[in-house]
Structures are given as structure tokens and as C-alpha cells.
């Protein structure tokens, strides 16, 4: 890592609190590192996990997300959903072998100009310590990140996260409240399998492969790979492509 390394950080700031806080920070002449590039969103909950992952893929070394303090959301409950979404995204990052600390969620209110400068400084320092992600020169990492993006794009994780607040704080379809620990376990399992499913799919994009081949490539037991292949086939995302010896070959179909 060279001394003049300057991390690139993407900041999603919510219009009502963090963006106003950043504004106040500037008006009050507090200093913060110029590494952060700010994208304003109306609410922190607008930020889709896909945006975060794609930012990392585009070359961000870290992603900062600023929202209103819990209970202060301009849209009443937006930041609760943000919390769950970001927790899920962090798990996806972990699965993809990227340090989840590269994604940071902070609450900065409109009055906390100084706090904004402090948290951005701290985050920048941490990223500086972790060093560049160097994603563009690392094809394996790109493949893993792509799988994470695919998983975040998929219906299963999105609806789990979307309903997280409802089922843990209000009730599920059966009128029961789900224990948050149970929900975390469910989410963890879902992240793990969705991520690997996408990873399996990514192996079949270029050429037809057998289950055994894929299992070897991504280092996942072949019975598990088989399960993913079956479910992908059911979703019409993978099709048959002849066979090699006794093993059938599969290939990814057009996106769908």
C-alpha cells in the first residue's frame, strides 16, 4: 500500500438528516476527508443492497450510509428497514469474502454537523487501514461479488428483508411474532444458499458443466450443488446440455 493511497468512498445520505447534517458540517466549517462521494437519497431505505454491491464492483473501497436516528425518520419507519437491509448486505459481503466493515451505517441527524465530520473521518481512516479493495484486478472477487449481486437481486432475500420488520415487530401471516434470533438464523441460511446458488449459476454462464466440475471449482459439496442446479432448473435459469460420460451437463439460460 503506497503512502499516497486515497480510498474511494461512496456515501448515500438521506435527504432529511444526514445530507442536512453534512450541509451543516460544511456551513459550520468542520473538516472531513474528501474521499467520500455523496449521493443523496430521499431516505436511507431507498438504498438497495444491489446499489451497495454494484458500487463496490465499480471501484468503491467503502460504502457509507447515513440515515436519521432511530425514531426520527422523516418517513416514520424507513431507517428500521435500512437496518435490516444493511445487516443482510453485510452478511452477503462476508459470504463473498469481502470485509463487511467496508459497509458502514451511521445515524447522523440534521443538527450533527460535527458528528458527520467525525464519523466520516473515522470510516475513512478504517478504510485506509484496510487498504484498497482492488476489485478490478481480481477476477475471482468479481465473480463472487456478481453472485452476491445476483442474490441481492433475487426475490427471496428481498422479500425476507422487506418483511423482517413486520414479522419481528408486528406479526407474521399466522398472527405470531417471530423471535428476532430465529429471523436472523433464517436470514443467514437464506443469504448463504442464495449466494451459493448464484455462484453455481455463474459457473455455467460460459460453458456447459457437470455438477462435479462445479463442486470442484467453487469448493462446495456436490450434493449441495446438485440441489442448487435442480432449483435453478425449476426456475428455468439452467437447461440441459448433453452429457459427458455418465454426468449430465448443464448450461445457464438467458437471464430470467
Amino acid at each position: 500500500m503506497s503512502d499516497d493511497y486515497q480510498p474511494k468512498i461512496l456515501g448515500f445520505l438521506c435527504n432529511w438528516c444526514s445530507y442536512a447534517g453534512a450541509d451543516l458540517c460544511g456551513v459550520s466549517r468542520f473538516q472531513y476527508p474528501p474521499n467520500i462521494r455523496v449521493v443523496r437519497v430521499m431516505c436511507s431505505t431507498r438504498v438497495d443492497p444491489v446499489h451497495v454491491l454494484k458500487a463496490l464492483k465499480a471501484g468503491a473501497d467503502g460504502v457509507f450510509l447515513g440515515g436519521c436516528h432511530i425514531g426520527d425518520c422523516h418517513y416514520l419507519t424507513g431507517n428500521y428497514h435500512t437496518q435490516h437491509k444493511i445487516a443482510m448486505t453485510k452478511k452477503l459481503l462476508e459470504a463473498a469474502g469481502i470485509d463487511p466493515r467496508r459497509l458502514r451505517l451511521e445515524w447522523v441527524s440534521a443538527s450533527e454537523g460535527e458528528r458527520f465530520s467525525k464519523v466520516v473521518q473515522k470510516f475513512t481512516d478504517e478504510i485506509m487501514e484496510m487498504g484498497p479493495l482492488n476489485i478490478k484486478s481480481d477476477e475471482k472477487m468479481i465473480a463472487r461479488l456478481d453472485a452476491a449481486i445476483g442474490a441481492a437481486d433475487g426475490a427471496r432475500l428481498r422479500s425476507l428483508v422487506g418483511n423482517y420488520h413486520l414479522v419481528t415487530e408486528v406479526q407474521n401471516a399466522y398472527g405470531e411474532k417471530v423471535d428476532p434470533n430465529t429471523m436472523v438464523a433464517i436470514l443467514e441460511e437464506a443469504v448463504d444458499s442464495e449466494y451459493h446458488r448464484e455462484l453455481v449459476l455463474s459457473r455455467m454462464l460460459a460453458e456447459a458443466k457437470s455438477v462435479k466440475q462445479i463442486a470442484k471449482e467453487i469448493d462446495v459439496p456436490s450434493d449441495r450443488v446438485l440441489k442448487f442446479v435442480i432449483s435453478l432448473r425449476k426456475d428455468n435459469r439452467v437447461g440441459d446440455a448433453g452429457h459427458e460420460g455418465m454426468s449430465p451437463l448443464y448450461i445457464a439460460l438467458g437471464t430470467g
Binding site: C43, Y75, T77, G154, H165, L166
Partner: protein, 383 residues
Amino acid sequence: VEGHIGDFKVGIKSASGSETLEVGTIILAIGAEEYIPHKFYGYDDNEKVVTLADFERMSKKGELKDVKDVAFIQCVGARDQDKTYCSRICCNVAIKAAIHLADKVAAGGGGGEAEAPKAEEPEKTGGRKRRSRRRRDGAGAGSAPSSGGGRANITIFNRTINAYGVHHEINFNTAREKRIKFQKYDLDNLPKISAAGDKVKVEYFAETLGGWRDMTVDMVVLSTPLVNHPEAEGISKLLKIPRGAEGFFLEAHVKLRPVEFATEGVYLAGTCRAPADITEAVIQANAAASRASIPMAIGFVQGEALMSHVNQDICVGCGTCTTVCAFNAIQLNENNKAETITAACKGCGACASVCPQKAITMTHYSDDQLLSEVLACFEEVKE
């Protein structure tokens, strides 16, 4: 309080019952309260130690007939003693009160009767939400030149005098002409107060003389800062408006939108924003009223430019969007497809970012637009 700009429903409970008002805009002018300096200078134990507001009340009631020599202590509880900020108005109020007292004593009467310069008194009225601003008359306490009579021995202990603006500066000079003394103190050497018969002994560190001195006065007046109204927290939650670190309401932008909140249709004026003197409060009230009159004169509210839009061809009717929407602005229609209720949608984007089918687009904040912004942040610039 329910609703939004142009259509607020405000429920007010009072002793005589409750009523609901339908209003278009809300101006907050709940005022502030005086800091009560428990633990400072024996305020709790010694009845000769009063706050500035107490002093003015007593003066008005004519209870200060025998009071001649007074020590004012500024910044009690303010500027890092308990509160961190400078309350701005207390220097000027203390100077005015001192001049007033000096004049009364000079005229031979002891401090009392007649009108006293009024401080920004906390409003304790029940109707804290009102559409029309409330006028207060400026305190034009003119001071007559002293002639004859006795001379009051008045000292204002201060850390620095904040007599900003033209007329406050004039008052400050008038006070000096009337031989009101200004004595500096610092946080390391706070004045000490002790009872001495029915009088009060003040010990203070005189820096120019390099030692402690003392004086005996009839009364000690503590200038304490204004603090936020106790209801401010509740109102902040009720209207979803922010407060600053000191507990005062925080406007949308300190320089560009000084009497408005980020929440549309809610405005503020006076000391609920920050300590202010009467002139300033009146100016703010004028400003807030004119800002509030703009949407009321227009007569209609433009819908949010930012709204969600559901592509019903893709929507599968799972209802995830309806669970995350805090405004009930997206609901399943009779075809079991999600549909945005445009009047209620605030454009936060919660639905778009969880839609499992990615069927929801936010106007002006679509996925494509956001991603383009993100990607542009990391474009390699070719030189």
C-alpha cells in the same frame, strides 16, 4: 397533529374541553424558559439571590423599594457551566434593568413601580399551535438622565459583555455613564456569595488589582440562560421536526431557510428557535408569517415530485411493499396488484428497494438513475 401541509388536523385539549382545528400551516412559537440556577450562588437558600426574571417581576410589583445596591452576575449556568451556549439576551436585559434601577434610585425612589424592561418571557399559554403570529410590543424602555437623588451602587459581574447591535451598545454606554460598574470574572475565580445580615456579601477576584475584594449589596441578581421549553421534546416528536444539541428547534437551514422546517407547512419564530430579544422575535414572527402565507395564498399544494410507480405487468402481488410503507400509500388493488396512492405517497423509496420483483420505480430516483450516479463517482478520468 395529523396530516400534511394544507390539511393539518390539530387536536387541542384544554380545561374547557377539546377541539379539532383544521389548518393549513402551523407556526411554532412556544418560547423558552428561564434556567433555574439551583446549586449556583446559594440561589436555593438565600432569598436575596434571585434570577433576572424574578428581579423584574419584583421590580414591577414594587417590591424593591429599599433596594439600592445590586450585584448582577452574568452567564450563570451558561457558557460551559451547565449549558454550553451564550444566551445572548441576558447582558442586554441586565444592563437595561441596571439602568432602570439606577434611574429610580437617582429619582429618589428605590427600584420599583412603573414598567420595567421586560425580558423575553416564556409563554405558558395552552394554545401553542396557532396560525397567526402573536405580536409583542418592543420594550422601548427609555432612560431619563439622572439628576439629584441618591446613587445606586450597581455592579455587573461578567465574563464578557455581549451587547450586540446599535441600541444595545447605546444602552451599554448609557450604563457606564450612569456609573454602573462592569467587573470581569473568569471560570477559575467565580464570585462567592454569602449572607451578611439582611444583606449579601459578594467576594470577587479583581484581576487588575490582583486579589480578592468584597462588597456588600442589597441583592444579587443571577442572569441565567434561556432553556428550551419543557414541551419542546414532545412537540418535536409530534410534528417530526428536529431539535439541536441544546434542545431548541432546528430550522431547515440556518442561512437559507431560517424560519422553516424541513417538514413542509411548519414554521417557527421566537425563542423556541434560540434565545432572541423581542425585536428579533418580532422579525422572526414577521418572517414566519410571510413564509406561511405563501402556500396559503397559493391555495393548493403540489404533489410530491417523487413518487413510486408500480409496473403492474411485473408485480406478483406479494404485498411486501405494503408492509414497508409507513403511509399506507401503496396497496393491493382488486386485481391483486400493488398500486400507489399518489396523494399519500411521500417518495421515500422503501417499497422500491424491497420489491422482490423490482416492479417499483421511483420517479427521479430510479435504480438506473441512482446507479448512474454511483458509477459516475468511480469513473476513471482520462487525462
